[in-house]
Symmetry: C2
Subunit: 397 residues, 2 copies
Amino acid sequence: MWRDLETVGLDRDTGGYRRFAWSRTDHDLREWFAGESAARGLDLTTDRMGNQWAWWGDPDAAVAAGDPGIVIGSHLDSVPDGGAFDGPLGVVSAFAAVDALRERDFAPHRPIGVVNFADEEGARFGVACAGSRVITGALSPDRARGLTDVDGITMAEAMLRAGRDPDSLGRDERTLARIGAFVELHIEQGRYLDDLGRAVAVGSDIWPHGRWRIDVPGAANHAGTTALDEREDAMLGIAATIIAARRSATEHQCLATVGKVEVVPGAVNAIPASAACWLDARGTDPDTVLRVVDEVRDVVGEFDGLVTRESWTPVTHFDAALVRRLSERLDDAPVIGTGAGHDAGILANDGIRTAMLFVRNPTGVSHSPDEWATADDCLAGVGALADVVTDLAGSTG
Amino acid sequence: MWRDLETVGLDRDTGGYRRFAWSRTDHDLREWFAGESAARGLDLTTDRMGNQWAWWGDPDAAVAAGDPGIVIGSHLDSVPDGGAFDGPLGVVSAFAAVDALRERDFAPHRPIGVVNFADEEGARFGVACAGSRVITGALSPDRARGLTDVDGITMAEAMLRAGRDPDSLGRDERTLARIGAFVELHIEQGRYLDDLGRAVAVGSDIWPHGRWRIDVPGAANHAGTTALDEREDAMLGIAATIIAARRSATEHQCLATVGKVEVVPGAVNAIPASAACWLDARGTDPDTVLRVVDEVRDVVGEFDGLVTRESWTPVTHFDAALVRRLSERLDDAPVIGTGAGHDAGILANDGIRTAMLFVRNPTGVSHSPDEWATADDCLAGVGALADVVTDLAGSTG
């Protein structure tokens, strides 16, 4: 399976993947998913948002019987120059788990579904987890349709070109009803498991996280003629913000990142008239994260700057009983939180019984070609997933 | 004259001017110059690089007689969203000085030329003073022709479209021989004259100045999952550079500016894989400027970054005797250095007798719609220019 995926959307220059929603590459990935589904005799359905579901067993009969299916899987799209594992590892492992269960002659009590969520990274239209957000209603159809990419193409246009019907978007009760539980396997995006010497962990929650825009005013002037004490240099405020964010996050033991800066006019010999940067802050405790933002705001205020919240997502807890059950089933696998968003989090917030599995990543690197897992750890992940499904689909609990 | 220029290249949104070389706006400015020249019965010549010269008297006869002409003027192009005065004030004042001399029935001993230098700001092709650099040979014809704008159009193509012949570029002995002395009047780009309470100053030199590119490496990673102590965040090095540049320049009393930053990949939730910024440093003393750069380099080194020199221009002295003579003629006008480059500096470096006049700018602002001079100060500038030309063109010295 890996070999077929290896070259899809690969940028030979960067060694990274560029798998964006509703692109030609995305189409090829969907064809791959359909092929793997057909090869296993699974029933492929695609919901109105384009999420693909490959079912072993009849999901609707299970809903009628009051005992809906167990879904595993993840997504196939990537960030720009992303790695090979973020997303695909969860989908490939799900198919491999189905194979393992069949080799064991496992007879499921409930149907088992493998899912490929559409547009998880939001790399093209700027909203992450668009596939799960639309079917749960967390992202309204109007807003989804109107999102635009860098070329000004709306998601509605992009879906139309890909043969989808954007007019049909909206909360999808039928699709959601089929999910008795969802377990998403994902490459770890840090080095916690490597430090611990374990191959697999169970995810307990997604940290509260937010995004703030910081605007610092300045006065445009000539870099060669304006005395230092007559300057109002927006760049100094940005530098102070970057340093304050790191200092404050270190002190309060959470994460703060400035990854994007915009300077106006951005000329070498011009004192900036204004500058903006973006603060991404996350942590286990919401109060701590917001304290970091407050401390950054104090520094920004010294430069007459403004801090504006662009997004804030409170903590998302996965199903506590399910998390405990998975950990026990997997030799007391460690239970860890994560700072990254996932479709599993969107479903959990919709009240669906949800958990995650993480596979060790020795580099700890994510969203980069350097993300990696050993073949042994990938197989350990497949085994864990098969064990979990055996437990959940083999019983009525 | 001002009224005719007022709307040429004006951006109604920003209130600034966008007068770029070889554009339609540039063409309109040249037509204006030709009209003002014709209205005064001056002989208009355009050299191979497109610099316009309006002569009162025969410049070649004066060269033959060993007593070449006195040239005044400046440029008409602008930086993006520039002000109304930088450049045009020198050209308009030159024409007005001709008018004043004629009202006084002045009979010049030598010809008087008014110049409009092409592409002084370098806003389109990135090289400042292209007009004077090409005719002195400081910019080679091949390099000039190959410069490109943001749309990938070369200067050669742009000149062709504007009806010029780029093949004919090169050092222009005939044009240079006609310049017995050049006095460029310019709006001040600082508040020195305002603090002093004087309307006009004489320029003594152009400070040594340079431009350095600073590259800081990093490691791409996910902003939501990477522990702070596992990060190699290029943005921290940029912030430290910005702060070090200001601190060091303050300590050594010169100018340092970071006006441009580039971050890769530049996403809100991505720890930067690399980042670059540019340092513009200038001052009265070259050793001091280079000491600032060394101190910045030390800080950049702490982040494994690299500092690369992109340009360095040593101090340019205007003709000391001419500067003294102008200052005495103008009621002991203050004599000031400047951190900005000018066509006058290019000619001075070519051994031409050169000086500058600066007119008070109460805002001290430059390269912005806020640059400004009072009508009285503009008239004082015209008077000073007329007095200087009376002195220089009325005698054989």
